[in-house]
């Protein structure tokens, strides 16, 4: 049973990593698109970010340096990721539960990360501070599970009770929240079982494939549910963190101007593509490139030739 859990653990991590990489590969190599930024763009200088301005506010902007303030991007990203800024500002009613839910995840992730590092240290030495730190990390993990469970429950109630959410919630969304909540509850309850191994012991066992570690049924059930979720996340909307990265960095904040024809190479290969749109005025039919179509004038009959 314990060995099966270890296998499930590694399989789930592999599925998660593979699925996320696949998503990234789906978006990253797409052709450079036309500009579609949205202001404020946070890497503008602080003097402009206050009012959401851009380099277009300067006369002869193309002759001036264009400093990019990465700190501005970082500030917005931190506020977005950890405080759900957009939801807080525009949808306060849903923010509380959403914040609990995500904070719970972050605490669980941080706790697991610390425990893995501590396990690694324990292989080399056993300093006196290791156990107390592990207990604190486990405590944060438990708090994370509790918050996740509570957040999932409240979000589920929102989606069931409010029509404006219910109408746009799909069956899988209910299942996701219910399974997340149940997995968190089982992990929490299982972790408190008298016979439950300590977090360090469990992680150590997973590293060494130690079948001697006893995992109580409740905890095993919680782990299997959580691992199933982990494997499934990249194949569902729960992987929105990947989409969000690209949506913000590659679209909303992508204000790079075509100075010195910086985009000429990428765009010229796209202009060589041969579209197949059927409308007569478009004048495509699969035989003309985008460049030829743009140069043609349908109003004088050129597009139809």
């Amino acid at each position: 049973m314990t060995l099966l859990l270890y296998i499930a653990l590694y399989a789930a991590i592999a599925c998660f990593v593979f699925g996320c990489a696949r998503r990234v590969r789906q978006y990253a190599p797409l052709p450079a698109h036309l500009r579609w930024e949205l202001y404020p763009v946070p890497h503008e200088p602080p003097t402009r970010i206050q009012h959401g301005g851009s380099y277009f506010e300067e006369s002869d902007w193309w002759t001036k340096p264009r400093p990019r303030y990465r700190a501005g991007e970082l500030r917005v990203m931190i506020a977005e990721i950890f405080l759900l800024k957009s939801v807080r500002e525009s949808n306060r009613r849903l923010w509380w539960s959403s914040q609990l839910f995500h904070l719970g995840f972050y605490l669980c992730f941080a706790s697991c990360s610390v425990l893995i590092v501590l396990t690694g240290i324990s292989f080399a030495a056993a300093p006196a501070w290791l156990e107390p730190v592990a207990r604190i990390a486990s405590g944060f993990g438990r708090a994370g599970l509790a918050l996740t469970m509570l957040g999932a429950l409240v979000l589920l109630l929102h989606r069931i009770r409010e029509r404006e959410l219910r109408d746009y919630t799909h069956p899988a969304d209910y299942v996701h929240l219910a399974v997340i909540g149940a997995a968190a509850a089982l992990l929490l309850a299982g972790g408190y079982s008298v016979s439950a191994p300590g977090a360090l012991g469990l992680i150590r066992g997973a590293f060494l494939f130690d079948s001697g570690v006893h995992v109580p049924v409740l905890l095993a059930a919680g782990m299997l549910m959580a691992l199933g979720l982990l494997a499934y996340v990249p194949y569902s909307q729960m992987a929105h963190f990947i989409g969000k990265y690209f949506a913000f960095h590659s679209v909303r904040w992508d204000d790079a101007p075509n100075r010195q024809d910086a985009f000429a190479g990428q765009i010229s290969s796209s202009l060589a593509l041969r579209p197949t749109w059927s409308a007569q005025h478009f004048g495509a039919a699969g035989s003309r490139s985008w460049a030829e179509i743009a140069a043609a004038n349908p109003a004088t009959g050129e597009a139809r030739k």
Partner: protein
Amino acid sequence: MKPGVRLRDMMRPDSEPLFDITHAALAPLPNQNEAAPPWKPLTEGVRQSCECGLDNTCALNLPRPKSREEEAALVDAFVRGLHKLFEARNNWTFLQPLLLSMEHCVGCQTCADSCHIFEASGRAEVYRPTFRSEVLRRAYFKYVKSGGALSRMQHGDIELSWPLIARLAELSYRCNLCRRCAQSCPMGVDNGLIAHELRKLFSQEMGIAPKELHENGSMLQLRVGSSTGMTPRTVKDNIDFIDEDISEKTGLEVHTPWDVEGADVLLIHNAGEILAWPENPGAFALILNAAGIKWTMSSELVGYDSINYGLWYDDAQFARVALRHAEAARRLKVKKIVIGECGHAHKALAVVADRLLSGELNIPRESSLTLLREIVTSGRLDLDPARNDFPVTLHDPCNLVRLMGVVEPQREILRRIAPQFREMTPHGVDNYCCGGGSGFAIMSPNNFGDWRAQVGGRKKLEQVMDAFADCLRSGEPKYVCAPCSNCKGQLRDLFAYHDLWERFRIGYGGLAELIVNAMRDVKPGFIDWEWH
């Protein structure tokens, strides 16, 4: 939350409207004691011959198919177009943003309260920003991704039929593409982009687009040079007339230079200004001459009209017009293109076309607002703010502000020349659209004008009245400065519809006019209040 339309209603097989907008349902307006003007019903002829199955207006006049076979062919065409929308060869222009918006919405509805149309309509469900997106999203997962049972669980199900597609076509023209909803989305999902892409599908695959944008818009512009119908010769005649008129009115000699090779600035106006608000190009000519700028206009086909309606519905039409703008500048060997007071022209030529223009066509492009700011702050004009001592507020055109980041130059000018300048709430990048965005300002088929004035522009109307709340009934004239031709078109119709001049003495105009009105060496009274 009002009971009513649900997403599945889009699949209803009949062609009856899903709902009727009623006055009672609309969001209340301040100082609206009088009954709102009656909403003109659609004529029986239109209802019989056109697809009007969404609400009680009709923007497209989409003819009803005459047979089952014709219906089936239209559904096939839509499905074909749907596939093309997600192919790099057909839609490299916006594929990445579109995919990101398709695949990551979590249905939190955070965007809903950002939408002026949804709010003004009294939260009519079909106008919810996610409503049309959800229809396209379900179709994408089912027809493009060929999703099975798991996909239906994850993304929902939909059955494409002609009544649904016809409703969706109309629904793609109930969004101003202002992208205020995108600004609030925690995932970066852009419902405005989704409406834009739907419009492209209909235009580029099925040849469906509003007559005002396509036949009388981009096609006319490519044929004669301007969507106003002005040929190079007539535009020069009209500008000559404006020069004369402005010279007489201001007491200063005004002359617009044409086709000056090697000029520092090629100024391209929205040609609608020349016909509807001639004082704006006149004011520009006067200011640029007074500031000693070496500038010119182009009489090249398309080169004298910055309009680019393709921005809103068709990538090919967009690229064709943008290339011709750049080509006009290249031929004249100008140092930069300055775009007149037109929001969508700014976004089209300076932002969206940026990466399309390379080599000799990559001529620097700049907003007229930054140039005007430079002129005003440099002291090259002798200005007397006391001449503008009346309440002034500023409308932020979405394309210029939220979508391009030109926020402060117009404010710096107004703070110098308008002592009673006050902001709307909210303003800047958080502004509300005037309701004329994405082509609506020039669209008034059937009773669409009623929709624009009562729903699309309702939030702006509220903002304008709130901005002047302290002096609303004072009897003094009040000025809404709208540095955008399309916004002015919408404000003209909106203010006339709600009788704002008669009731509150609220008028509107551009920024250049206010500058000229403040010039000491110009005869007083450049702004003609009664005319509007």
